[in-house]
């Protein structure tokens, strides 16, 4: 029996699964978001090949269910922080696709004013705190975001109970920062969930060549006395079923968790990756269980929530959104040198901070 049918059997057996309670609208929304991310990334790769996008660019194709399903399991005001493979999180969190694309085009209308690029997805109104290029460095930051939420709620008596989502790649498992953060979060009972986007590779290094206990990463959670789980991140329903209860627990009981979420990136690490470290067969094999196909099939065949025509309509819709985003990026102006080379460094620069020039205010961040 293939894994896909096994999943389907499990699904029909237990009606009590959390995802079964979700309305069609939510699940169709997820399908749309996943299709949007895929289309966005396909066009991102094209724009990169056409030299519209410079620098480094890491696309999210293959991992769509992970960002959509995990962000779909939390509240809109729960803080989210991630690494550099961040377009998917930005879109799933609700960033305007135009601002996301314009950022990569290096245009002033981008979410980081076109001065950051692919790795700098920030959307403060949507509680997305980046987009960070130093692998693993976001993990203590995630603990801090959870700490602030906990402090606000427990000490200042303001706001509800929040939980922070902190994403990391499997390569980041090996950075010291993560281990300090996990210990700290465990010790202080911080409501942060570390989600390992385990796509099996850190650049050209397969997980087994880079980290210990790669077959059972939850042992790393055990080492810090925090909740650990392994979840298949390709099937979004399964993901939700297992992830949502953890979110609820971490929120209610103010405690951290560490999730090994299995996923896969279909394309190279970045836009220039000969991929000598894996075979075409391996990639094709994983694509047989594509997350978008799994959810679409469920919605069409099992739930009968949508028809083939509905799916085509969604496809048309996301294509139009991405086309508009590219047009917006294309037509937006580049940052003005005089205003933008010397802005966004200090909130409150004193005169003489730099003897060369005075720091200036620059344009307002378009998402604020």
């Amino acid at each position: 029996m293939s894994t896909a049918t096994a999943d389907k059997d499990a699904r029909t057996k237990s009606r009590k699964r959390p995802s079964a309670e979700l309305p069609d609208k939510t699940l169709v929304g997820w399908l749309r978001d996943m299709m949007l991310i895929r289309e966005f990334e396909i066009r991102t790769m094209q724009a990169y090949s056409n030299a519209k996008i410079g620098g480094f660019c890491h696309v999210y194709i293959g991992q769509e269910a992970l960002a959509v399903g995990t962000i779909g399991s939390v509240n809109p005001d729960d803080p989210v922080i991630t690494a550099y493979r961040d377009h998917g999180h930005a879109l799933a969190r609700g960033m305007d696709p135009g601002a996301c694309m314009a950022e990569m085009y290096g245009k002033i209308t981008g979410c980081a004013k076109g001065k950051g690029g692919s790795m700098h997805m920030f959307d403060k109104p949507n509680h997305l705190y980046g987009g960070h290029g130093i692998v693993g460095a976001q993990t203590p930051l995630g603990a801090g975001l959870a700490f602030a939420a906990k402090y606000e709620h427990e000490v200042m008596g303001k706001g509800g109970k929040k939980v922070a989502l902190c994403y990391l790649g499997d390569g980041a498992l090996n950075q010291g920062a993560l281990h300090e953060a996990m210990n700290l979060a465990g010790l202080m009972g911080l409501p942060v969930i570390y989600i390992v986007e385990n796509n099996g590779y850190s650049m050209g290094t397969s997980i087994g060549r880079g980290t210990t206990m790669s077959e059972d990463l939850t042992k790393k959670a055990d080492a810090y006395g925090i909740l650990g789980a392994t979840i298949d991140g390709m099937d979004i329903l399964n993901l939700y079923d297992h992830f949502k209860p953890i979110v609820d627990t971490c929120r209610e009981e103010s405690r951290p968790a560490f999730i090994d979420m299995k996923t896969y990136r279909y394309h190279g690490h970045s836009m220039s990756d000969p991929q000598k470290y894996r075979t075409k067969d391996e990639v094709e094999g994983v694509k047989q269980r594509d997350s978008i196909e799994l959810l679409a099939a469920y919605l069409m065949d099992d739930r009968k929530a949508i028809t083939e025509d509905d799916r085509k309509a969604i496809d048309k819709e996301v294509k139009a959104i991405v086309r508009d985003a590219m047009k917006f990026a294309e037509e937006s102006p580049v940052p003005d040198v005089d205003a933008e080379l010397y802005s966004d460094v200090y909130v409150n620069p004193s005169p003489g901070c730099s003897p060369i020039r005075e720091y200036v205010k620059g344009a307002k961040n378009p998402l604020l």
Binding site: I134, Y277, I356
Partner: protein
Amino acid sequence: MANLTLVQAINLALVQEMEADERVMVLGEDVGKNGGVFRVTEGLQERFGEDRVVDTPLAESGIMGSSIGLAVGGMRPVAEIQFEGFLGPAYDQLVNHAARYRTRSRGAVTVPLTVRVPVGGGIHAPELHSDSPEAIYAHTPGLKVVMPASPYDAKGLLISAIRDPDPVIYFEPKRIYRAFREEVPEDEYTIPIGKAKVVEEGEHVTVVSWGAMVVDCLKAMDELPEDLSVELIDLRTIYPLDIDCIVESVKKTGRCVVVHEAPKTAGYGAEITAQVMEHCFLHLEAPVQRVAGFDTFMPYYKLELEYLPSVERIAEAIGACAAY
């Protein structure tokens, strides 16, 4: 003799040193199977095996710290950090341990470590992949800091770095990794650490630079009037500074321009300027000029070229210094 790029010259130096000395090892993220992000270590693992060309986990502190341990334990490790921004996680090991081990042990323990780090902007990379932090490390006693500007020097300097008994940071200007080729002898030779090179002799203005900026200085010199004769010095070693070479030149020209990519404030140009003032005060015809990056972070892509000192900015500064 072969016509090599900077990347190939570095690779050749590594091959020859590994052949000559079994203690020489290469460590870093994807340096083996993948040959490194910039393919600098291509072919080394096939040639020398996984014991000597070690693919490490993604862990800069671990790479740096264990390389220090290897060096203390008698090996000659050459660690690669993929981009200068990733020296951040390794900073503690590098500055608090590699640099100070000898002092801390009062001469008992030394650290013959080489750290290879691609550096600088101009390849359309974002922040953390475009910086020039050489002044930070030059400011750290115990470390030596070098940065070649040509394939020939790259090979000779790396061999010196590997053989040096002290920790050496070997910065590789990534913008010129494949920008041009140069004749690089197969035979063994070294470029001494601490020795600058007069790239072009001249009479009227001394220009001091290093790394990829040397290439831009040469271009700027082409823009200047024929009768303005410029002496260009490529430091090659940032620290220890070859102040004698600079002083000799400035005493002749009476004018000095320092060009670097890093932010101007507290950049290495400030140190050079101060030393020129200390040694050449009575010879100076003009204030020392600095052409540098701005005091901000390397912006992405569309603004990147505005950040880097341009050929025009360099030419203008040289002209202004000459006309002062």
